[in-house]
């Protein structure tokens, strides 16, 4: 059973790996440029993680507040990212997001409307003005369905439930990928002149996460093994509001939209603890009374935002602080209360159900809680990775010629912390760019050849778990141990000693993964799939831990108990990891190029 059979080979100009917002947008663009495009994804079309996004996508259209423009959005993104962002990407993103959002409307998307019939925009943490185009609390579904339905008429070749195992190279250049179909377990070779990685994030490296099973860091790990550099891997966003009770739902996201609509955070004693500590660089924009905060959520342009809408890293830490101080809610979190708005609005119940329909159903169905009447209990959950494949800001090409990356698996736009809503816009802005430049690359570079020895070796490695069917341990046990290791030791609050423990543990987990066996056959066998994901999880976990150890300061999503302050010495470079000649992970510091004058002026002006 464990000898690789022959391989079906499929040829494309551009192979896009991942069919979330980023991959779909890239594929649509590459096809529009005349390239022959193949699109592969691990699950069915339209099920990718993007479908889960709730709150909205950020674009400075100024439909609700005409003071908004790309410059404010640019400055907000850098402030949120603590200036470690790739400023070129932040500039392009802020400038191009409005165009990309409007284009979706021409493809059938139906956003919520303003009174004068334009796209409505809502408030979100870290955004100065109401900026998020949205559809209730199911914006991701609208995005993915719009792209999917538009894409199927563009002649894309979609390979569903196909998982890429490894990237293939021809010399230095990318040449395609080896994959297997989940249904039958058959291998498939993709030969391509350019490859776009759009595989999303890594949340499954942690025990408590808002992410789906697909988030095993495949794009990060595969690119790394193909020689591409990764950057900013220490920066992980722990979203402050995940469900915590009952245990089986722990981690499921509670959208920031709840706070955007007026929801407040309270501790066990009913105190709004977020007023206790407002970071200096946000003081000027944050309200100091509950009254002013409420007016802000109701669209009063003169009011400043409530402290609940500060950046996610800060809010998450404030919650941990309450729990650690013994002021948490019964199940180890804090309270998020939207029901209180009935003091302010006559039709509050209706209003909540209309504005936050999926939150209402989620709590009703999964926790038996009516959020129009009672507060929710919430706590932080692993949500997003700012780090990823290091790319060129304009073209999204990685350090490997012909390999592009976009969406959550690429790094740069968000720096040390991502603002809510900046991911969906990231997907469409840089998805388009990656698709365009991948198509150009394919056009201007000749054909590639496939290294069949490399294919054979990779296929053999993939089948090895079946040879160990008799092994005492299965892949699920190793995965669980890995998730606990990362959760306990490289989580929201980090310290040297714990991370050293993690690094050691990862070494022995690698050995366990190499010994874990799988029973059954190759047809739709989740045990086997889990075994194959382990390699990727281990690679990204190691990268996260190594970078987190080296960043001896606290900034954005990275908080060190042993170095609780920001250190200006760490503000001038990004940590980059790449595979060394001997196969070990090498870490370097890549200086951030100085910002051109016109952008520096924007930052200065928006201070």
């Amino acid at each position: 059973m464990s000898t690789p059979t022959e391989y079906k080979t499929v040829e494309h100009d551009v192979l896009v790996i991942g069919a979330g917002g980023a991959g779909l947008r890239a594929a649509i663009e590459a096809a529009a440029q005349g390239a022959n495009v193949g699109l592969v994804c691990k699950s069915l079309l339209g099920k990718a993680h993007t479908v889960m996004a709730e709150g909205g996508m950020a674009a400075a259209m100024g439909n609700v507040d005409d003071r908004d423009n790309w410059r404010v959005h640019f400055a907000d993104t850098l402030r949120g990212g603590q200036y470690l962002n790739n400023w070129r990407m932040a500039e392009l993103h802020a400038k191009e997001a409005p165009e990309r959002v409007k284009e979706l409307e021409g493809w059938g998307a139906l956003f919520d409307r303003t009174a004068d019939g334009r796209i409505l925009q809502r408030n979100f943490g870290g955004h100065r003005y109401p900026r998020l185009a949205h559809v209730g609390d199911r914006t991701g579904l609208e995005l993915i369905r719009t792209l999917q339905d538009h894409g199927v008429h563009q002649g894309l070749d979609v390979h569903m439930e196909v998982t890429v195992l490894t990237l293939l190279k021809d010399g230095d250049r990318i040449a395609g990928a080896l994959a297997y179909d989940r249904e039958r377990g058959r291998f498939r070779v993709f030969k391509a002149k350019a490859v776009v990685m759009a595989t999303g994030g890594i949340g499954r490296a942690y025990k408590i996460t808002s992410n789906s099973w697909e988030y095993t860091g495949d794009g990060h790990a595969l690119s790394y093994h193909a020689g591409a550099a990764l950057q900013d891997m220490e920066f992980i966003q722990f979203h402050p509001t995940g469900m915590i009770w009952p245990p089986s739902v722990r981690g499921i996201l509670v959208t920031e939209g709840v706070r955007g609509e007026g929801g407040v955070l309270k501790n066990r004693d009913g105190k709004r603890f977020m007023f206790d500590n407002i970071p200096d660089n946000y003081k000027a924009q944050t309200s100091d009374t509950p009254e002013e905060g409420w007016r802000y959520t109701q669209g009063d342009k003169d009011a400043r935002r409530p402290p609940e809408l500060l950046t996610r890293d800060h809010v998450a830490r404030m919650i941990v602080n309450e729990v650690r101080g013994g002021r948490g809610s019964p199940h180890g979190g804090v309270f998020l209360d939207i029901a209180w708005i009935k003091e302010k609005l006559p039709n509050a119940e209706e209003h909540i159900k209309r504005k936050l329909p999926s939150m209402y159903h989620q709590f009703m169905q999964l926790a038996g809680i009516d959020i129009t009447k009672e507060p929710m209990e919430i706590g932080p959950t692993t949500h997003y990775i700012m780090g990823g494949v290091r790319v060129d800001g304009d073209t999204q090409m990685s350090t490997v010629p012909g390999l592009f990356a976009c969406g959550e698996c690429a790094a740069g736009l968000h720096g040390a912390n991502r603002l809510g809503g900046n991911s969906l816009s990231d997907l469409i802005v840089f998805g388009k760019r990656a698709g365009e430049h991948a198509a150009k690359f394919a056009k201007s570079n000749g054909t590639v050849s496939i290294d069949s020895a490399a294919v054979d070796a990779a296929a053999r490695r993939a089948l090895a778990p079946f040879d160990r069917a008799a092994s005492a341990e299965g892949p699920y046990q190793v995965q669980e141990a890995l998730q606990e290791t990362m959760q306990d030791n490289v989580g929201i609050v980090r310290a040297q000693a714990e991370m050293d423990v993690a690094l050691q543990a990862l070494g022995s987990l690698k050995d366990r993964a190499d010994k874990a066996g799988v029973k059954g056959n190759r047809e739709y066998n989740p045990g086997w799939h889990t075994a194959l994901d382990l390699d990727n999880l281990l690679t990204v976990s190691e990268a996260i831990t190594r970078c987190a150890i080296e960043r001896k300061e606290s900034r954005g999503g990275h908080f060190r108990e042993d170095y609780p302050d920001k250190d200006p010495a760490f503000a001038t470079f990004n940590f980059v990891v790449a595979k060394g000649k001997d196969g070990s992970m090498e870490l370097s510091r890549e200086p951030i190029p100085p910002m051109p004058e016109h952008l520096a002026a924007v930052i200065e002006e928006m201070k």
Binding site: S43, L44, K47, V51, M52, K102, E105, G106, W107, G108, L110, R113, G117, R118, R138, G140, L141, E142, D149, H150, H153, E183, I208, W245, P246, P247, S248, V249, I252, L253, D276, R317, M318, V320, V323, R324, G325, H331, G332, S358, Q362, Q365, A367, G379, G474, Q477, D488, V493, E498, V518, K519, N521, E523, Y524, P526, S554, F559, E561, P564, D565
Partner: protein, 280 residues
């Protein structure tokens, strides 16, 4: 300082992790029995599993626990575990449902929970079916065709009241539970002649889209077989997104078919108003 320094707790497991662990310990456990359909390509049988379950669990959690501890190769499709992607459709105690949104506490504790794949589609393995037919059907429906933009900047103007109804249809997560339950597909296997409730909803979303100018009524009547629906409303009952499939989507489409084919004056009015829509 930018953020508070969380007060340190015991090393290894701080107060935060400890609080989470404590709640795990406090959760109630029980042993439940599950009958899961196992087999390949339509052949198979129920296999019974006993599994320790924890308070609050949904059916998908139990399936995962069984896969992790007793049956590593148990085939199941899922993705978000939050009722948002529509991957985990199955028949639970004979009812088409999402496994991730069905709480064990809502199912009779005295009887085994039966879990089977959707029956209206070709079986692959265990709980997984081949739903590719749905993706093929969708391609046959005429694509969105907007009128020219209303404003010089290439944008359109629409009132919220005009998009409300279509937004209801666009809530669809493509779980295909409505397709599974529709007798035209499930019992009469008219997959060649009938697109099923999901795609009638999709067609309705396009037809009622304020910007759309295409006319899908002739196809709906012929190739898409809308006449085969006899309004049993079974589809509406199972929709996890609570889309009023029959009343809001199918019946108005049927009315359009009647207007266009059996009421020539009505058709003229419609053409006129379409033109107006396109110009205005």
């Amino acid at each position: 300082m930018s953020s508070p320094m969380p007060t340190a707790g015991a090393k290894g497991q701080d107060a935060f992790t400890a609080a989470q662990a404590a709640q795990d310990a406090s959760a109630k456990h029980a042993t439940r029995s599950f009958k899961i359909w196992r087999g390949e390509a339509g052949k198979g049988d129920f296999v019974e599993y006993k599994q320790d379950v924890v308070e609050g669990m949904v059916v998908l959690d139990a399936v995962h626990e069984i896969a992790a501890t007793q049956a590593n190769d148990l085939a199941v499709r899922w993705n978000c575990k939050a009722g948002k992607c529509g991957s985990c459709s199955a028949e639970i105690n004979g009812m088409p449902k999402l496994m991730c949104m069905t709480r064990l506490s809502d199912l009779d504790a005295d009887k085994p929970v039966t879990i089977e794949p959707m029956r209206a589609f070709p079986h692959m393995r265990d709980l997984v079916t081949d739903v590719s037919w749905n993706f093929e059907v969708k391609k046959k429906i005429q694509k969105f065709t907007p009128r020219p933009p209303d404003a010089p900047d290439g944008t359109w103007r629409m009132q919220q009241t005009d998009v409300d109804r279509v937004q209801e249809f666009r809530k669809c997560i493509e779980c295909f539970l409505c397709q599974d339950v529709c007798h035209v597909l499930r019992d009469h296997h008219k997959h060649e002649e009938f697109i099923g409730p999901r795609f009638l909803v999709y067609a309705a979303a396009l037809e009622m889209h304020p910007l759309d100018t295409a006319d899908r009524v002739p196809e709906l009547r012929k190739e898409h077989g809308i006449g085969l629906c006899n309004i049993t409303k079974c589809c509406t009952k199972v929709c996890p997104e609570h889309i009023t499939i029959t009343d809001n989507a199918i019946i108005p489409l049927k009315e359009r078919v009647v207007d266009e084919f059996f009421d020539p004056i009505g058709k003229l009015v419609k053409i006129y108003s379409r033109r107006k829509k396109a110009n205005g």
